[in-house]
């Protein structure tokens, strides 16, 4: 029910008349009967000195209730009815001069009254329509406010989780760093990688991340895509859960390649390929990072955050095998997991 409903009886009456569409025939009968009834009443119970007075409320009521044309009809009919009740059959003009003058004056005044009553009805209808629109706008505003509140809560929740991830990355880096300057550099670079992953995720409302877009975003700063870094595989959408870890892993691999591997000279390149196959009816993802043309690789004496994080987190997020192989001709990093855990292949 509308909330703007007034308690005034006139408002209620107008509202009722606007809400109920009465057929024209009924209106005609209603106005005619009321006018005739008032005429009869006046003839029986009221002096002929006041022939028009009791018609005025009927005219106003008709204008308010049914609109302009019915108000004008009531006014004309009332003038005729009043004239009939005071007419003299012996008089060839039916009415005396003053009675004619009074009748014409009554007609003019009540036509004006009927017009005013109809204007009042129209104004009320316009007010009612505005009030409804206002109510609807208020409803939309309230809905928008509650959606905004929900979004804020969701954003806060997501932000806190991202902060917890950042906290973990920073703590893990510090835990395994040999000195503060290198830890500081590594933390900054890892935060940039997280930022790049966040950009890709945010573009899809944090619901998924396109594999190729993620590769271009994270690896682009490390080497020309398509020249030094060759990425090839079917269109794949990563789950948001593993996308951050995957971005960090790519960043670590690329940083390692730039320091010691294929991106540390002018000719080496990285081949990043992925494919989808089936094992026992289940879709599987195979991802291979292969460095070619770089200097001879020597396995590190101590495993730092990078390699530990890459294997550990991708095993956890992608629920599969993740292995790093320090081959002398180039590093190989392989992930073998259920496709479902990593993402979906785009149609």
């Amino acid at each position: 029910m509308p909330q703007y409903r007034s308690s005034l009886s006139l408002d209620r009456f107008l509202e009722w008349s606007l809400e109920h569409e009465i057929p024209k025939a009924y209106r005609f009968v209603f106005v005619t009967v009321i006018v005739v009834a008032v005429g009869v009443f006046r003839t029986l119970f009221v002096t002929s000195l006041l022939p028009w007075l009791f018609f005025i409320p009927v005219i106003v009521l008709s204008g308010l209730m049914f609109g302009r044309s019915w108000g004008l009809y009531a006014s004309t009919l009332s003038t005729v009815a009043a004239g009939v009740t005071i007419s003299d059959p012996q008089n060839p003009l039916w009415l005396s001069g003053p009675q004619w003058a009074g009748s014409i004056l009554f007609l003019v005044v009540t036509l004006g009254l009927a017009w005013l009553a109809a204007e009042l009805r129209s104004a009320f209808a316009r007010y009612r329509s505005l009030a409804k629109r206002h109510e609807s706008t208020n409803g939309e505003l309230k809905q928008a406010e509650s959606q905004q509140l929900l979004l804020n809560e969701e954003l806060s929740h997501r932000l806190k989780n991202v902060l917890a991830v950042v906290q973990s990355v920073v703590s893990q880096t510090l835990r395994q760093a040999s000195d503060l300057p290198s830890a500081s550099t590594a933390i900054s670079a890892r935060l940039v990688a997280l930022g790049d992953a966040t950009t890709v995720l945010t573009a899809n409302s944090w619901s998924s991340a396109d594999m190729m877009t993620m590769i271009e975003k994270v690896l682009g700063p490390h080497g020309a895509i398509g020249v030094r870094i060759i990425a090839k595989g079917p269109p794949l959408t990563l789950n948001p859960r593993g996308a951050l870890a995957f971005a960090l892993a790519l960043h670590e691999l690329a940083t390692n390649a730039a320091k010691y591997g294929a991106l540390s000279n002018e000719t080496g390149r990285i081949e990043l390929t992925w494919s989808v196959g089936h094992v026992e009816g289940k879709a599987c993802l195979k991802l291979l990072w292969r460095e070619v043309g770089g200097p001879t690789v020597k396995p590190p004496k101590r495993r730092g955050f990078g390699s530990t994080m890459i294997e550990r987190s991708l095993r956890a997020y992608f629920r599969g095998e993740a292995n790093m192989d320090y081959r002398s001709d180039g590093l190989r990093f392989e992930v073998d997991c259920d496709l479902e855990a990593a993402g979906i292949v785009k149609a």
Partner: protein, 126 residues
């Protein structure tokens, strides 16, 4: 009837689906002298609790994948293993205290690890 658990051990079960966060919590508690078990969802956590009777502290995230979220897990642990010290975490700013099981604490993410350790110590002493 709940099953009794020993209360003089420093063994913690960390239930967190975000692996990077879980790794850090694991390393942190190991450095603090805890024996740590880790699970990525409630089913894994329940399996560990079933087999590792030394678990004295359970730290669980609320948002977990699978059939049971962290709150349901916390209530289950409270009913099944009453002496367990329970810590419930989330990125949510606030959590209705009525939603938490008895004798448990809510810890908002990101964590203050030192404060978390103090809380566990205090709850273990109670």
């Amino acid at each position: 009837m709940g099953q009794g658990k020993p209360i003089n051990t420093s063994t913690i079960l960390i239930v967190e689906d975000e692996a990077i966060i879980r790794f850090e919590l694991t390393d942190y508690f190991q450095d603090a002298g805890y024996v740590v078990f880790e699970a990525s969802d409630a089913d894994e956590a329940l399996s560990i609790l079933e087999h590792e009777t030394s678990v004295r502290v359970v730290l669980t995230d609320i948002q977990l994948p699978g059939s049971m979220d962290g709150l349901k897990l916390a209530h289950y642990v409270r009913d099944r293993y009453p002496p367990t010290v329970l810590l419930v975490t989330s990125g949510l700013a606030q959590l209705n205290a009525d939603a938490l099981p008895a004798n448990s604490q809510f810890i908002a993410k990101p964590f203050d690890p030192a404060r978390m350790l103090r809380q566990i110590d205090a709850m273990t002493r109670d």
